[in-house]
């Protein structure tokens, strides 16, 4: 049996076995029908050409993850919601006033990837957070999404967030985990009129984990979303990010940093759709790859017919730290309209020899010089993070991501 077919069969079997008769049953049923009709990707699938699903052949889809939460959980904000292996941990969760929690999720036609369909079809739990209209939630909400297992296993994490008209929220979507576990996650965020979301997506699982996720933004109202996405390296990281600008005046800002060191693999597939006139999107991503690390960014901007007055920008600058590292970046513009302003740029470079020598000439070792220059490369984005809790968290996290990988000899690469 081919790998895609094998994975699909396992996924469908898992979906059929998942608990019946609860509030999630209709969603599972709809998703299962869609999943049965969908094809799992192979290397000939354009959007998967750099990412193999081979790591999943260890049997991840055969077992449900049940690894324990660590004793000490990271604390980035006063209010926290914890999901472990896809299940809400009520005892560890406390919501701010103005946010309501529902244990449900909806079928969404906008979710296209087979892994997103599989998420819906095999759900064991799901949460929807609703921010009340005309309510400003002043303190950030830390959404801690944990997955762990000692042996190959999987879990489905599902979060939906609805910002009602006039609401304001800072959400820290934070993935942690360890062991050979696949966290197959779906996050759907809808912003209605005059809503403002500040969104952080922190992906800091350990190196041995796998992460496949879909993030869907729907700006159904005149709204603003500022999203900051920080991605560490692990065995397989695949982020499908889709943003739909569906009402004139909506504004989306996405910034991101990804660091693929050691043997890490990070694949970002971004798609911003301008469906109506006069929306703005601005994307700035910076990537680093070292040793045998591999990073991919495909940035699609789709400007629909009639979406005049669109402003869309995408920049992706990357740095290769070692001869064995790989980076593939591609802006992809699809414009069906004359009256648009659209700018894009993508670069892949190396550390500057003159800068390295300057630091060395002041007594700094080459390894430390490389670390400082790597940090310097992403610092403009890191220093601009507005939330204090995240800003405090990010420095040690980034230092860890940029520290030496003693197991991989980069000079020999």
């Amino acid at each position: 049996m081919s790998l895609p077919l094998e994975l699909k069969t396992l996924a469908v079997d898992n979906a059929r076995r998942s608990e019946a008769g609860d509030a999630l049953a209709p969603l599972r049923g709809d998703s299962l029908s869609a999943l049965e009709a969908a094809a799992f990707p192979d290397r000939k699938t354009e959007q998967w050409k750099y990412t193999s699903l081979h790591p999943l052949t260890d049997g991840h889809l055969k077992t449900q993850a049940n690894g324990a939460l660590p004793d000490a959980l990271p604390t980035l904000a006063d209010h926290r919601l914890v999901m472990s292996n896809g299940r809400l941990q009520e005892a560890l969760s406390q919501l701010p006033e103005g946010v309501t929690l529902h244990r449900r999720a909806r079928q969404r036609d906008e979710l296209l990837t087979p892994f997103a369909l599989y998420n819906g079809a095999a759900l064991t739990d799901a949460i929807t957070l609703e921010v009340a209209a005309n309510t400003e939630i002043s303190a950030p909400l830390h959404l801690l999404l944990h997955a762990a297992s000692d042996a190959p296993a999987h879990c489905q994490t599902r979060v939906e967030v609805l910002l009602n008209p006039g609401s304001k929220l800072t959400l820290i979507e934070h993935y942690i985990g360890q062991g050979p576990v696949l966290n197959n996650a779906v996050t759907v965020i809808e912003a209605r009129d005059n809503a403002h979301l500040t969104h952080y997506r922190l992906q800091s699982e350990r190196e041995d984990t796998l992460h496949i996720s879909t993030l869907l933004f729907r700006q159904t109202g005149v709204s603003r979303i500022d999203s900051y996405q920080l991605m560490g390296g692990n065995r397989l990281r695949r982020n499908d990010v889709r943003a739909l600008l569906e009402k004139s005046g909506a504004e989306l800002n996405m910034q991101g940093v990804f660091v693929a060191r050691g043997q890490s693999h990070i694949d970002n597939q971004l798609c911003v759709e301008h469906r109506v006139p006069h929306c703005t999107s601005n994307q700035v991503f910076k990537g680093l790859a070292g040793e045998k690390g591999k990073a991919i960014l495909n940035g699609r901007i789709h400007i629909h017919e009639g979406a005049m007055g669109t402003l869309a920008e995408l920049s992706n600058k990357n740095l290769l730290l070692s001869p064995g590292a790989e980076i593939y970046t591609k802006p992809e513009l699809e414009i069906y309209n004359d009256d648009v302003k659209c700018a894009h740029g993508a670069t892949v470079g190396q550390l500057d020899a003159a800068q390295q020598f300057y630091l060395q000439s002041r007594g700094i070792t080459l390894a430390e010089a490389k670390r400082m220059l790597s940090l310097g490369f992403v610092n403009e984005l890191i220093l601009a993070l507005p939330d204090e809790g995240v800003a405090r968290w990010v420095q040690p996290w980034l230092a860890g991501e940029l520290s030496q990988y003693p197991g991989v000899n980069e000079e020999a690469a």
């Binding site: 020899a353 020598f357 300057y358 630091l359 400082m372 310097g376 403009e380």
Partner: protein, 251 residues
Amino acid sequence: MLEIRDLHAAVNGKAILKGLDLTVNPGEVHAIMGPNGSGKSTLANVLAGRDNYEITGGQAILDGHDLAELEPEERAQAGLFLAFQYPVEIPGVSNMEFLKAALEAVRKAQGKEEWDSVTLLRKAREACKQVNLDAQFLKRGVNEGFSGGEKKRNEIMQMLLMEPRLALLDETDSGLDIDALQTVARGVNSLRSPERGIVLVTHYQRLLDYIVPDHVHVLSDGRIIKSGGKELALELEQKGYGWLTGEEESA
């Protein structure tokens, strides 16, 4: 302290230094002058260990260390400091963060007491003041958006903090107006000490009005062709280099 014997060096495979001898004793200030293309900057970069600047013969010994055997950072830790002709800009790395890393590495290697962050900041502010550089520059990216003069003053500021055994200044006077030149010269003069050697690489005599050298050498085609006292610089100013090199001097 610095002993250069029959030094040959090539840049990207092209021979530039062709048998250079130079001895610098503690407490001395040497000026190395010469026409464009004579190898002045090559000498500075070879000593500091820049990539593609290769020693092909002879030796350069600093306090018993054969420089050819040391990495650039080890040379700095051994007390060598190069003030660059064209200091590079490093956006994203703040001047302060850079100074902290440099001083930690060098002071540790030299067995000096480590400075805590309060001491470091105080010393850095003092050094800035000494070269007329606003302390705000400590927060900015290394040389990022600095004017030519600010870059040169930033080099001298670093030199004051690093307290090198041997300071090499590569065309530090180029592009400076007279006020900046005097500021830079004051900084360098404050470092003159019986423990320290200073080598000034310069094309023009005017820097030597403010930093008076003990010895002046003329470099031509990769060799020192004449050495003398400070009066040699004045003679060069009047006559140009042509009378020594036998060529028309255009600069």
